[in-house]
Symmetry: C2
Subunit: 427 residues, 2 copies
């Protein structure tokens, strides 16, 4: 395929009229497809259906450790659930607290608690003139929404396939004690699907923040969410690395089963140092008598252990792979060599990240919408919803079928071409 | 029985040595009983056992309203759960948001949100020099713990069988704009089991607070928790009353199924005006994608409607009544006429409140503990854990069996007598 930039004005005009005709045709089909949400498909939920049978009226609802899961108590979760999530996160059960159904809520509550009560005895952030967070971007919009909600200033950190720009991270956290945190999705990052390199993780563990209450928010959302059995990414364990560097208090790790069991009915966990968990418990014990232990028991009885979780994720991968491949096949076929976009090819997670020519993302998303294909809003992957280059688009292949994803991507590439041609003609 | 105060010193000394002998005997029994926790008994949980069967692998997990309860979404809860909790709370489903497993968490989050974001646009409380709450006492220790945790100054309001001292409440909220809230358990109050009179509720609805962001925290924890079918207390609906007075934004009502289905696995709700719920949703949508909808569906399918809930509570009452009666029988038999204590005889809820002679509560609780009977810590029912008269003791009859409750109360009255005699001899 000829690179668009090398086309003459005449060639571009011809192409444009051809693409316009194709677009009108596509619009006439009245598509209604959504590739905006990192949401499990019904088929993924279906493979977990007998999940609801493992705890029933015939079950012993008292745990091995002697806890009646129906009654009050067990602030940090039942020991068996702590063990399961600790195994998944590669840490010890005593480093883990099990909460409700969403790790997002633990992250929100952690920031909220830092605002009102500080971090392990530090000044409450709401009493400070300025609080800043580093935001590797493109990143997860709901992370940025939390910090924005609390009036925390966000600083964009560029991402590479190795992870965030660590030169910049190191320099900023060492210099500026108003920087109190950084958002990370270290494995199969949202939306690029990048996994932080060993060096990146080690540099995180070696950070020398000016602020004692600086914390790494390590959202390991896709920790066992591999697409391929033979080429899964490996992420170094940040808790272990921080143990080595003596920075044990510097990191909160989050994970959940939202994309393992049910997105609406999973369990979420935080793993952190004793100091951090003790500080958290001081508020938690005021906030709740304990989270839903029956659902914790359900997870333990159904998945049993890490092997059970992994075996289950192989079934998820079998459903997810064809969708990712459907997208990538169309992108490769239609855009390779055109020089009007680049995209990632992740080994896991929930997203593919597409970078259009600068200044084209919003127009592409709008064009797709006009023809019945919903994409994540352009800009959503950046702090304040503002992509400085207006270039990044997140593609979420999980919810539609592979056939729908192929159709949606067909329309997407058509819109990419059309908007790119328009952009080049403007120039 | 002769009143202790009318006894001569000699009579008291004789009684003391007799009571001491009884106490040593009781201690020798090596009791291990707990009447400190408002916790359902295993027998109560058992009557709800097939609760876990109504949602299983054969169930349609999509609601009538078309929501797949397994997946993300439905921030405010599934419509059927909103309807169920609205019926229980006597309001419309659109006035209700369903959250996680604990109303305590909604209350904590509501205070926390007010600290960081204010109330419907008011200045965040953390930016104010002083924030105060009114605390009718004796009251619920976990309420007071929330306000204490956030550094909110607590002002004790005396309780009567009609509810809080409304002269004082009206005066204080009208005069002092740093008073931002009041904690209420309006029906079968914790620990006295009092239900606010119609006049009290109307006076609440007519409050003229100096602070626009003053809110009534109406914790209707025992809303359908009657002990007797033929003499249940009736509480006027505060939301309706506030509608009449135009004070619709002044109240948050809380309820849950923690003491209906499972204490560890219920669902909790808040009912409030559109303005309050909209303000809440602004934070909620950042904090979560949605709470566990499968558990909401389970409640809807199991209880079906308000009649289903009420029928279930009749079974609870049958288990609870003998325990309350066991306590009251011993108190009546052993203390009537002695003039060393008064106690409440609630028609519902989870507690009996006992008032010892001034300065005796701590000593009674300690003496009970020494002989193997655990009571709620003296003072727990007052802000900062400090009962100015050292008089109030909360008795929680739910968890032990009726026989155990009788034994525990036997020891309790013995300790009351002993400590009272000691007190009178000191005088």
């Amino acid at each position: 395929m000829k690179a668009y930039r090398e086309m003459s004005r005449e060639e571009l005009l011809t192409l444009q009229s051809q693409l316009n005709a194709e677009y009108e045709e596509a619009k006439a089909k009245g598509l209604s497809l959504n590739m905006s949400r990192g949401k499990p498909a019904v088929s993924q939920l279906d493979i977990c259906k007998d999940f609801l049978d493992v705890v029933n009226s015939g079950s012993d609802l008292v745990t091995e450790s002697g806890v009646d899961t129906r009654n009050y108590g067990e602030l940090v979760g039942i020991p068996e659930a702590q063990q399961l999530m600790a195994d998944m996160m590669g840490t010890k059960p005593e480093n883990v607290i099990i909460c409700g159904n969403a790790s997002l809520t633990i992250m929100y509550d952690t920031v909220s608690r830092s605002m009102t009560h500080g971090v392990m005895g530090s000044t409450p952030w709401c009493k400070l003139d300025k609080v800043k967070f580093l935001c590797p971007a493109p990143g997860y919009d709901r992370h940025f929404a939390i910090t924005e909600h609390f009036g925390i200033e966000m600083i964009t950190i560029p991402m590479s396939p190795e992870g965030p720009d660590m030169d910049m991270v190191e320099k900023l956290v060492a210099e500026d004690d108003t920087i109190k945190g950084i958002w990370c999705v270290p494995k199969y990052s949202n939306p690029q699907g990048y996994t932080y390199s060993d060096e990146t993780v080690r540099r995180f563990a070696n950070l020398k923040p000016a602020a004692a209450d600086f914390r790494i928010f390590w959202d390991n959302a896709y920790i066992i969410h591999d697409l391929y059995e033979d080429r899964s990414d490996k992420l170094l364990n940040i808790l272990d690395e921080c143990e080595k560097t003596g920075n044990v208090d510097m990191v909160y790790e989050f994970a959940s089963t939202s994309k393992i069991s049910f997105a609406g009915g999973g369990i979420a966990a935080i793993a952190a140092s004793k100091g951090n968990l003790d500080a958290m418990k001081k508020s938690m014990t005021i906030q709740t008598i304990g989270y839903d232990k029956i659902n914790q028991l359900r997870h333990v009885r159904y998945f049993k252990n890490l092997d059970g979780l992994k075996a289950h994720m192989i079934k998820h991968a079998a459903l997810m792979r064809p969708k990712f491949e459907a997208v990538l096949e169309v992108l490769d076929r239609e855009l390779n060599g055109a020089g009007i976009g680049t995209w990632t090819k992740p080994n896991g997670g929930y997203f593919i990240s597409f970078d259009a020519m600068d200044g084209c993302a919003k127009a592409i998303v709008a064009k797709c919408k006009e023809a019945g294909v919903i994409l994540t809003g352009a800009g959503a992957t950046f702090p304040y919803g503002k992509d400085p280059k207006d270039s990044n688009i997140r593609i979420a292949p999980s919810f539609p079928t592979p056939e729908e994803m192929a159709m949606a991507t067909d329309l997407f590439v058509l819109c990419v071409k059309l908007v790119s041609v328009e952009k080049l003609l403007e120039a």
